[in-house]
């Protein structure tokens, strides 16, 4: 079995792994990071979205070995020092979740967007969430939550207009 070295939520992982193992199966299985969900089998639902370095990817669609030497952030890695990430805060405040199954993927897709575009327009948010399905909310409050988080994060960085 090939060996794999990567960072997950800041933790260094060294493991031997079957080459066909998907990243999502590594996360949910051996690493017990069950916040990353599997909602489909065709890379359509986005529930499994994580950050690979700073880019959002569907962890059902890449092999764990493709994360070799790289840094993976899952929903469990969003909060820092026991403090919720602005996206997590905003999803709660805006009622951006109901059942919560799509939520980790939604937040990670949004985190990827905000990493490359800290002040997205509403249309850019909608575009960034096109690969993520939600059956409960109608997306209204999800988009609102991402807008609110973006405002807060931009403000925290002192670039608020």
């Amino acid at each position: 079995m090939p060996s794999l070295h990567l960072h997950v939520n800041g933790r260094t992982i060294e493991t031997d792994i079957e080459p066909q193992t998907l990243l999502v199966d590594l996360l949910r299985g051996p690493l017990a990071l069950t916040g990353t969900h599997v909602g489909c089998d065709t890379a359509q639902c986005g529930c499994c979205t994580v950050l690979l370095d700073k880019e959002s990817v569907k962890s059902c669609s890449i092999l764990a070995l493709q994360a070799q030497g790289r840094s993976v952030t899952t929903v469990e890695g969003l909060s820092r020092d026991g403090k919720l990430h602005p996206l997590q805060e905003a999803f709660i405040e805006c009622h951006g979740l109901q059942c919560g199954f799509c939520t980790p993927g939604m937040m990670m897709a949004a985190a990827g967007l905000l990493a490359r575009n800290p002040r997205p327009t509403e249309a850019e948010i909608v575009d960034a969430l096109e690969g993520n399905l939600c059956r409960c909310t109608g997306y209204v409050n999800i988009v609102a939550a991402v807008q609110q988080a973006a405002r807060k994060m931009a403000g925290a960085q002192g670039v608020e207009k």
Binding site: R28, L33, T34, G35, T36, H37, V38, G39, C40, D41, T42, Q44, C45, C47, T74, V75, E76, L78, S79, L84, Q88, F91, I92, E93, H95, L97, Q98, C99, G100, F101, C102, T103, P104, M107, I125, V126, D127, L129, E130, N132, L133, C134, R135, C136, T137, G138, Y139, V140, N141, I142, V143
Partner: protein
């Protein structure tokens, strides 16, 4: 913050943060697939590639020999082991008077398969990969039979029959109303309009697929079934009946549920197979459905083909309503699948309108498709869709404003309580007031200018309206709640209703805060454990008005009971004890004791009380929804440009949650109107929409600018809280409202009443073809 301030901030009617959310946003939810057990085996189903076939033989020999394979179970194995089919009790006869008919619905197909994707064998192995590979090594010989996938062809002479008890494929049939009086009304009517519509089949598609983890508890020998489901007690009943187990030997446990929408109401056949595997292998066994399995074998919704007719007098007053519907209930008729179109839909068919004379003729038809069950709205969307499309057709025929035609037919407030033509009694409702507010919110009278502006840009614009009500409660109107006050500062509410994402725990907590006057962080809601509570579960928008009422009663009883305990502890008379914000006090003194301290002083270290509540009837939430669309005539693409709704759901406990229910629900209704449809190939019976690439779900770009209002001035009179169910209202209203807007745009573009021939989903292709006068065949063709 004082306790009083806490209560006023977090009690009913307040905008609160949901108590469910901190865990869910942190990835700390407990969905069933997040559970794993030591020694857990994995189950994979082998599914039928044919829509209809005899099973000649199943050879699992090679698969059983593969390393890591623990067992292969076939339908024949289960029959031999005495596993029974899922019991079905359908309260309607067939047209010839014989009892309702269906082929036996088994955990695994035996002797025949009746739809593509039906489970034929279960392979259990050390890993999912091994099980998947072994399933491919199971050799099944099929003798393919002709397949029929729609209700019209299934009832045509010479159609292939799914079971010998029903050579015509009719599972059951029901007539409601007075056919003779209706015929007379039609004979004297000044106007008669009709519509032919197919309310297409939908895949409920909660984002979390079905998951079951079954295990035998070592200490007790009992079967534990962890499952994502809305009705834990019903799951236990089905597993016990089919496997011959006593209720006390099975415990069903439900963690977080990633959406249900009716599909997760009770057991599916697969759940029984997983339970059987765990029992016989004495190993924990997990099955996690892949999305394709959800499209193939999770129950579907809708699929009703109807001809509706309305008779009106010269002033537009409806004289009578006649509906003929064929419901495609799938390969196996279930009580749910049949009752929804044959009884629940009829209950609301006359809706908010005063229509005394009806003739409803409804037939449940079996076909080589996945079984149809409950999906958000369950019968009411289909019925309301027929009625609202007829009201639009009548308005067009009489050249009346569609709002005005509706106004002339509304049940008036002074008619309350009003008993409709199906003997259903509405306790309350101010339907005209909802209509007026809907017109105001949508700027109804400003439409002509907006249409002109759209036309300036080369776009067609249409406006649709629905006034409607729905029935909620599932006719399971009693709930019990147990309260346990624990010394560690926790008030635990135990209920057999089931969270599935709707935020019911938060709403219950708000109601408990009202009574206890403690911070909401003190409230824990415990659900999903048949050892703790049993009941109907959550379906039919019933949880708040039944379970919430029980929360209030049980909480009040707890305080009363605790007053007596406080009197003992404080050596005072109970009559002299007052309770406020977590503390008992002897009136007029400083002598007192805290609620939680008092709990710690009890022998069993808790204060416990049960309370139950029975609603006096269903609740009848109602609304007026108005939608505007723009259509690009070059492509047929429909864009929703405005959506306004005014909703009467009685008293509102959780404002943010109910708004989310209406708007999220409306998005599901919009999905049906514009994009969703389960498609089977009419010849082969193959499923053509078995992935999210082929089944079009609404995405973030569909529509978000909902204007949503609640009129809370009309409380429900039949439950203690005055609340009405909200879970399905948005879905029921959105579909007819959006279609109505598209039809209006097309009618105004020169199609006239021909525009009414369009069938959902109104994709760009369908709309563009309609603009070229191509409406496709009649749904009855």
């Amino acid at each position: 913050m004082s306790a009083a301030v806490q209560a006023s901030r977090f009690g009913s009617g307040q905008t609160v943060r949901r108590i469910e959310d901190p865990a869910l946003v942190a990835g700390q939810g407990r969905f069933t697939d997040d559970l794993s057990r030591p020694g857990q085996a994995h189950l994979v189903f082998l599914r039928s590639p044919y829509a209809h076939a005899r099973i000649v033989s199943v050879d699992a020999g090679a698969a059983r020999e593969m390393p890591g394979v623990l067992a292969v179970i076939t339908g024949a194995d289960l029959v031999q082991a005495g596993v029974k089919p899922i019991a079905v009790s359908i309260p309607f006869p067939r047209p010839d008077g014989t009892p309702a008919a269906t082929a036996p619905r088994r955990a695994l197909a035996h002797e025949a398969v009746r739809f593509v994707g039906e489970a034929v064998a279960a392979v259990i192995a050390e890993s999912r990969e091994i099980a998947t590979n072994a399933a491919e090594a199971v050799m099944v010989e099929y003798d393919e039979l002709p397949a029929v996938v729609d209700a019209i062809r299934a009832t045509a002479p010479g159609a292939t029959a799914l079971c010998p008890q029903a050579p015509d494929n009719i599972a059951a049939e029901m007539r409601h109303g007075d056919a003779k009086a209706t015929a007379e009304a039609f004979a004297r009517a000044a106007h008669v309009v009709s519509v032919e519509i197919h309310n297409q089949r939908l895949a409920p598609s909660p984002m979390e697929p079905r998951v079951v983890l079954a295990e035998v508890e070592a200490s007790s020998g009992r079967l534990l079934v962890h499952i994502s489901n809305q009705m834990p007690t019903a799951v236990r009943a089905t597993i016990c009946e089919t496997l011959g187990l006593a209720d006390e030997n099975v415990r069903v446990l439900v963690g977080d549920v990633g959406g249900g929408f009716g599909m997760k109401g009770g057991a599916h056949p697969e759940d029984i197979a997983v339970a059987y595997a765990a029992l016989t292998l004495k190993r924990p066994v997990k099955w996690c459905a892949q999305r394709i399995e959800e499209f193939l074998s999770a129950s579907h919704g809708r699929d009703l083909t109807s001809r509706g007719e309305l008779a009106l007098d010269a002033n537009g007053k409806v004289l009578a309503l006649r509906v003929r519907s064929l419901a495609n209930v799938g390969a196996y008729a279930t009580a749910t699948g049949v009752v929804i179109p044959l009884l629940v839909g009829p209950w609301v068919t006359t809706s908010v309108y005063d229509i005394a004379t009806i003739d409803l003729h409804l037939t449940a038809v079996m076909s080589n498709t996945s079984t149809v069950g409950a999906y958000r709205g369950a019968g009411r969307p289909e019925a309301i869709y027929i009625t609202e499309r007829l009201m639009d057709a009548a308005a067009r025929e009489l050249k009346l404003d569609p709002a005005e035609l509706r106004r002339r037919n509304l049940v008036r407030p002074e008619q309350m309580p009003y008993t409709n033509a199906m003997a259903q009694t509405y306790d309350s409702g101010q339907f005209e007031r909802m209509l007026d507010q809907g017109l105001a919110l949508s700027d109804w009278n400003g439409f002509a200018a907006r249409r002109a502006a759209s036309e300036q840009r080369g776009m067609l614009r249409g406006r649709g309206i629905s006034t409607f009500l729905e029935w909620t409660g599932g006719n399971a109107l009693t709930e019990q709640v147990t309260v346990n006050v624990l010394p560690e500062g926790i008030i635990e509410l135990t209920s057999a209703t089931q969270a599935m994402g709707q935020g019911i725990a938060t709403s219950y907590a708000q109601l408990a805060v009202d009574v206890f006057g403690v911070p909401s962080e003190s409230i824990r809601v415990l659900q999903g454990d048949t050892d703790r509570a049993n009941g109907f579960g959550s379906a039919g928008s019933r949880s708040l008005f039944t379970g919430g009422s029980a929360v209030q009663v049980a909480s009040e009883r707890t305080v009363e009971h605790a007053k007596e305990l406080a009197a003992e502890a404080l050596e005072a008379s109970a009559a002299d004890i007052e309770y406020r914000e977590g503390r008992f006090r002897v009136v007029g003194t400083d002598v007192g004791i805290g609620l939680f301290e008092l709990a710690g002083k009890q022998a069993d270290a808790r204060i416990r009380a049960d309370g139950s509540s029975t609603a006096g009837g269903p609740s009848w939430p109602n609304a007026c929804h108005v939608c505007e669309v723009e259509i690009d005539p070059a492509t047929g693409a429909v864009e929703i440009v405005a959506y306004a709704s005014v909703n009467d759901i009685g008293r509102v406990v959780s404002p943010v949650i109910v708004r989310g229910q209406i708007e999220g629900g409306a998005m599901q209704g919009i999905g049906q109107a514009l994009c969703e449809r389960v498609v089977y190939d009419p010849e082969s019976g193959q499923a053509l929409t078995a992935t999210f690439m082929d089944y079009a779900m609404p995405r973030a770009d569909m529509f978000r600018a909902f204007k949503t209002q609640f009129d809370t001035s009309v409380p429900c009179l039949t439950n203690a809280l005055g609340v009405k169910g909200v879970g399905e209202l948005g879905t029921i209203g959105a579909t007819p409202t959006v279609v109505s807007a598209v039809v209006d745009a097309l009618a105004s573009a020169g199609l006239g009443r021909d525009a009414e021939r369009v069938q959902m989903p109104l994709t760009a292709q369908t709309v563009w073809r309609a603009l070229q006068r191509d409406f496709g065949p009649s749904p009855f063709a």
